[in-house]
């Protein structure tokens, strides 16, 4: 599966225009196609390797979830991204497709407050369970006071 095939497949299936940079294909998708795209990438493009998932806070424009999956045989890299929309925090979970998404989505929830629907065990992973706020959001100042140990 080379990038050109992937691009035509994506264009046909999801109706969006991917950006190609070498072996990396970047696809921006609407949020409701998120899990479908993951499953399709795994089954059709052979991107079985789940590399990482995270989010970016674009301030007023809201959160964007990004995810990188790879086909290790052909070297194809698929970079999926989806804008959740201003103020929105819900995103479909990729755990039913990739088991590796489990801890990555928990981390993303921990840091950005993105709520992944259908995640089997969505709770904080790095921060204490009773932490307040989501540190990697841009409105979370680095000197935000936090509650003392309880």
């Amino acid at each position: 599966m080379n990038p050109a095939d992937a691009v035509s497949g994506i264009r046909e299936k999801f109706g969006v225009e991917p950006v190609v940079d070498g072996a990396t294909v970047t696809v921006a998708l609407p949020v409701d196609q998120w899990r479908e795209a993951g499953a399709w990438a795994k089954s059709t493009l052979g991107c079985r390797y789940f590399n990482w998932l995270s989010a970016v806070d674009w301030k007023a424009e809201g959160l964007e979830v990004v995810c990188r999956v790879e086909n290790l045989e052909s070297g194809l890299v698929l970079f999926l991204r989806t804008r959740l929309g201003a103020g929105a925090t819900r995103c479909p979970s990729l755990v039913p497709v990739y088991r590796g998404a489990d801890w990555m989505e928990r981390e993303c929830y921990d840091m950005f407050g993105v709520v992944f629907d259908d995640h089997p065990d969505l709770r904080r992973i790095l921060l204490p369970q009773d932490w307040e706020g989501y540190p990697l959001r841009k409105d979370y100042a680095i000197d935000t006071p936090h509650a003392p140990y309880r």
Partner: protein, 386 residues
């Protein structure tokens, strides 16, 4: 175990007399601060919940508040056992986004220190893993002390090169900060010669030992499919039969110039991971020799020194760069808004992804295997928690 933190991966077991044992956060074989809640039925683990985050410093937020000049030396504090490659991941990402040139000599120096670092890191892994299996008052301690002796020799080299033994600050945007001191290359050659010979001794000591073999073979098997699905990298995925090495998949820093093999084992158990790492020792030493032989002359940095930390600016853009650290793919995703600091920095730690395999493979094993599996994963908690 608080109810919210309770999540168990159940395996089929009909009994009900269970013991919940807390392994960590302070435990001799926790390799840092890691807490594993084991649900035991006798000696058999039926469920496990991994609790991490004790060493969390929010490196990603730190990365957004420190400038491109400041952060590389902080980056070394993620994977502090292989600090050279952690720094390299960050500076590579910034160089990719900012399209900085790196002189050939600097690229070779980066390869040189990265491979020495891999040898040092694997030394520590072998020692601590045997310590887990053999005990601090047994054969494990013997292997551990031998390995520390070897690691020490490499740390001496790094000390001569950078003045620091653990966290180096060797890399900077556009090159390296230090050049080789006089006589260093000769010393490095002698050191790797000694280490290469000692590796053979350890292999003889461990692989001819039936007890070592029964402790590692068939323990903690990770299938190829599971390895890809969870996103393992480094020796773990190569021990499961996937030939995936960033140095090959996406050669960075002139790795294309070097002749080396990517060792792959197919069994997927602790022994396969051990074999992969033992072969990597030799391959790394080979690369070190090649880098020393072929080291080009020239500048070590494409960028003049800065007078204030905010002087390096990166044009608007984003990029993901990855390097093959001792534990696997260490990657950094940087989004720049044109200022002296990244807008967003995502750190992909190899240990975080590798550690996520534990809940999938531990249930069904004995307590003693838990430490063997954990040691074979080789997590560094600075990188897991970041």
């Amino acid at each position: 175990m608080d109810p919210e933190a309770r999540k168990v991966v159940e395996i089929g077991y009909g009994g009900n007399e269970r013991l919940i044992m807390n392994m960590g956060p302070q435990h001799p074989s926790a390799h840092g601060v890691f807490r594993a809640l084991l649900v035991l039925e006798g000696e058999t683990v039926v469920a496990v919940d991994a609790v991490i985050g004790y060493l969390h410093r929010c490196h990603e937020k730190l990365g957004e508040t420190l400038t491109y000049v400041q952060y590389p030396s902080i980056a070394s504090k993620t994977d502090y056992v292989a600090a050279m490659t952690s720094e390299l991941a960050y500076v590579s990402a910034v160089e990719k986004v900012g399209k900085f040139e790196v002189p050939k000599r600097a690229q070779y120096l980066r390869v040189l220190v990265a491979e020495l670092q891999r040898v040092a890191s694997h030394c520590l892994w072998l020692g601590t893993w045997c310590l887990d299996m053999g005990g601090a008052l047994g054969g494990g301690a013997t292997v551990f002390l031998y390995c520390m002796r070897e690691r020490e020799a490499i740390l001496d080299l790094f000390e001569a090169l950078t003045g620091a033994r653990l966290l180096y600050g060797f890399h900077q945007i556009g090159g390296t900060r230090y050049d080789l001191p006089a006589g260093w290359a000769e010393k490095a050659r002698r050191t790797v010669d000694v280490i290469e010979q000692r590796i053979g001794e350890y292999e003889a000591m461990l692989e001819d030992n039936a007890f070592f073999l029964i402790r590692t073979q068939g323990v903690g098997v990770v299938s190829r499919e599971l390895a890809e699905d969870v996103g393992l990298s480094g020796p773990l995925i190569r021990g499961s039969g996937v030939e995936y090495d960033v140095r090959r998949a996406e050669p960075y820093s002139s790795y294309g110039d070097f002749d080396f093999k990517v060792p792959v084992e197919t069994a997927g158990d602790c022994y396969a991971r051990y074999r992969v790492r033992m072969q990597e020792f030799r391959e790394s030493i080979k690369i070190v020799r090649q880098a020393l032989d072929g080291l080009p002359e020239g500048a070590i940095s494409s960028r003049p020194g800065v007078k204030s930390v905010g002087q390096v600016r990166v044009p608007k853009g984003e990029g993901y760069a990855r390097v093959e650290g001792a534990r696997g793919e260490v990657g950094c995703y940087v989004i720049s808004d044109g200022g002296p600091k990244p807008y967003r920095m995502k750190w992909r730690g190899a240990s975080f992804s590798n550690l996520a395999i534990l809940p999938h493979i531990i249930p069904g094993h004995k307590v003693a295997d838990v430490v063997a599996i954990m040691g074979s994963v080789d997590p560094v908690f600075g990188e897991v928690d970041r």
